[in-house]
């Protein structure tokens, strides 16, 4: 920590422990993903014999070809992409608008609104009454079940309120003076300076939607509406118990259900791997605001 002191024996030992620990941690975290990646590039039948650690043994793009030519996987991917895009858009907009309005301390009935929101955060009816409600609303087995439930994120309302409170009120007031309406002020002035918060919101809500398998498991029975996460889960469930059933799907091109599954896993993880390092600085501050003030 302090360069002006000479390194003691203790320093050397602790530094060594730190670096070894971190190196092990990086390996343990990254290698599983790397392994799935090389398996997805290997012939499925060959991979099932084991012994692959660092590089594909029999390189092939067959798993990806099978993935992208199977209507079941393609449809799942399409559902996941569209539900994530649309669901995130709706959810972020709704959440941000409510948070923005609630950030005004002089809002009439603010206390009542906050109480309702806090109650909704801590209490819930659980999955069973929720299912009955969605059934009554006609959302069971409907595409909109991916969009409408969860359109308002309470956790991000609370973070948003603390974020918007820090924006000086004079910004809004001077714009209002110039005759701008509330929506115009929001879209022209508030949104552009809220990028850090928006980025955090989009990342978390987006990742949540992309990774969501339980909405599909609980509320959707129709095959045409299955999303990618659900389809992956289905393969895992059917192969988990015995290795023989994993081989059962072997097709002409030496791929197996399991090896196509690894391709699906790569396709599902890739967008997240590509996005999250770049949004790091935003969500790190977002986490801090949320945990310190929330």
């Amino acid at each position: 920590m302090k360069r002006w002191l000479k390194k003691s024996a203790e320093d050397k030992i602790l530094d060594t422990i730190n670096y070894i620990f971190c190196a092990v941690l990086i390996f343990v975290t990254v290698y599983p993903f790397y392994y799935i990646f090389i398996i997805s590039l290997n012939e499925g039948l060959d991979a099932s014999f084991g012994g692959i650690y660092w590089f594909p043994r029999k390189f092939t793009l067959g798993n990806y070809r099978d993935f992208f030519s199977d209507i079941k996987w393609l449809r799942g991917l399409g559902i996941s992409v569209s539900a994530t895009a649309l669901g995130t858009l709706v959810s972020v907009l709704f959440t941000v608008l409510v948070a923005y309005a609630l950030s005004f301390r002089e809002l009439v009935h603010r206390k009542l609104y906050m109480t309702i929101i806090i109650v909704c955060m801590y209490f819930s009816g659980g999955i069973i009454p929720y299912y009955a409600l969605l059934k009554a609303l006609g959302l069971i087995n409907h595409y909109l079940v991916y969009i409408i439930p969860g359109a308002l994120n309470i956790f991000f309302i609370l973070i948003g309120i603390t974020f918007f409170e820090d924006i000086p009120g004079s910004l809004r007031e001077s714009a209002m003076m110039d005759g701008a309406g509330e929506l115009k002020v929001f879209s022209r002035i508030i949104l552009p300076i809220s990028k850090p918060f928006l980025a955090t919101c989009i990342l978390f809500i987006g990742v949540g939607k992309w990774n969501n398998w339980y909405d599909c498991t609980f509320f959707v029975q129709s095959k045409a509406l299955r999303n990618l996460a659900y389809l992956m889960m289905q393969v895992i469930n059917s192969t988990q118990v015995s290795a023989t059933s994993a081989m059962a799907g072997a097709s002409s091109s030496n791929t197996t259900t399991l090896s196509v599954q690894t391709a699906a896993m790569v396709v599902a993880a890739l967008p997240i791997l590509c996005i999250y390092p770049f949004l790091q600085k935003y969500f790190v501050t977002g986490m801090m605001v949320g945990s310190v003030k929330g």
Binding site: M1, K2, E10, L14, D15, N18, F21, C22, L25, I26, T29, P32, Y35, I36, S48, Y100, A101, L102, E106, L107, V108, H109, Y113, Y122, F123, S124, G125, G126, I127, I128, P129, Y130, A132, L133, K135, A136, A151, G169, G181, E182, L183, N211, N212, W213, Y214, M232, M233, I236, T239, Q240, V241, A243, T262, M265, A268, L273, Q280, V284, M287, S291
Partner: protein, 315 residues
């Protein structure tokens, strides 16, 4: 300027109409999707079938505590409670301290590419869904997975270890996977707290001849105690959901199977099984309520305990 508006409620509300409409839309939404289901919990005391429709919940005949009694006397009850509490406590004891240790370690390292790489890598698994992680677990830990093959090849073991199929392994599996997924993520919060500590404290400690471990023990840890307590309360509040990661259900559903169900079956998966899968909605709602009530007691007790011992609390 702003102060003047307070107090003139009627005209105030009208002046704020656009803002009020945003909020009211949100409140309306919460009423439908959060508050109405809470009212629906009353089905746990009623002889309700899903075919009765939503309003049927309120018109169905009362059965009192019948379903609660049925659950408590069910042969699975002790097993489900044991697993729910056991897995949750394992996670609390073993996964909670790890992010703190990791954050202390990171703060002790020189800033540079290696530290940045370590941190970036450490929270990667947080963003990956449990479905993919259970897929990875299968590739690594099944009887023909890479770990068993590796150990067999080294002659460390004679026959594959049933990480995923042995009931005795499940609690450990759930805990270790949770550590793997969430340690780096929660370290962010503790690292931020450590970065906020006044540097002069360390400098004078060095002049006084304090060793590095002593500095951690007497400066770092006491300084971040409020953060530790806050996060601990959050974890306790969701104890039966699986603590910080809230992963009990997803793990149990995705990694549980016929072979390890004796150790992996928890109240939440039971609710799903009897309710949505087998159609016993009223009974499942009652079972879910049992867990909610226990959790709620936990939140209040842990919050009160934190208030008394550490002087900080959530509410």
């Amino acid at each position: 300027m702003r102060r003047r508006k307070v107090g003139q409620h009627k005209s105030g509300f009208r002046k704020q109409l656009p803002l009020q409409l945003f909020v009211l839309a949100g409140i309306l939404y919460l009423s439908v999707f959060n508050i109405i289901p809470m009212a629906g919990l009353v089905m746990g005391f009623k002889d309700y079938k899903i075919t009765d429709g939503w309003l049927g919940i309120f018109t169905a005949p009362w059965v009192g505590l019948k379903f609660f009694r049925e659950f408590v006397t069910d042969f699975q009850f002790p097993v489900l409670v044991r697993n729910t509490v056991g897995i949750s406590l394992c996670k609390l004891i073993f996964t909670f301290p790890l992010p703190i240790a990791f954050a202390v370690m990171l703060s002790d390292m020189r800033r540079g590419w290696f530290r940045k790489l370590t941190q970036t890598a450490s929270y990667l698994p947080h963003f990956i869904s449990w479905v993919i992680i259970s897929g990875i677990s299968y590739q690594f830990l099944s009887s023909s997975g890479i770990l068993n093959r590796f150990l067999l090849a080294l002659h460390v073991i004679k026959k594959p270890i049933g990480f995923l199929t042995d009931a005795g392994m499940y609690w450990g599996l759930a805990t270790v996977l949770d550590m793997w997924k969430e340690t780096g993520w929660w370290a962010i919060v503790f690292l931020a707290a450590i970065m906020g500590i006044n540097m002069e404290m360390y400098e004078s400690a060095i002049l006084d001849g304090a060793s590095r471990l002593q500095r951690v023990r007497y400066i770092t840890l006491p300084s971040i105690k409020p953060t530790i307590v806050t996060v601990l309360i959050l974890a306790l509040g969701n104890l039966f959901g699986g603590g910080l990661g809230g992963s009990n259900f997803e793990q149990s559903y995705l990694l549980g199977n016929a072979m390890n169900s004796e150790a992996s079956g928890i109240i939440q998966t039971y609710v799903y099984d009897v309710g949505l899968a087998n159609g016993r909605y009223a009974y499942a709602a009652a079972v879910g309520m049992v867990q909610s009530v226990i959790s709620l007691i936990f939140v209040f007790v842990s919050n009160a305990a934190a208030k008394r011992t550490a002087g900080s609390s959530l509410f």
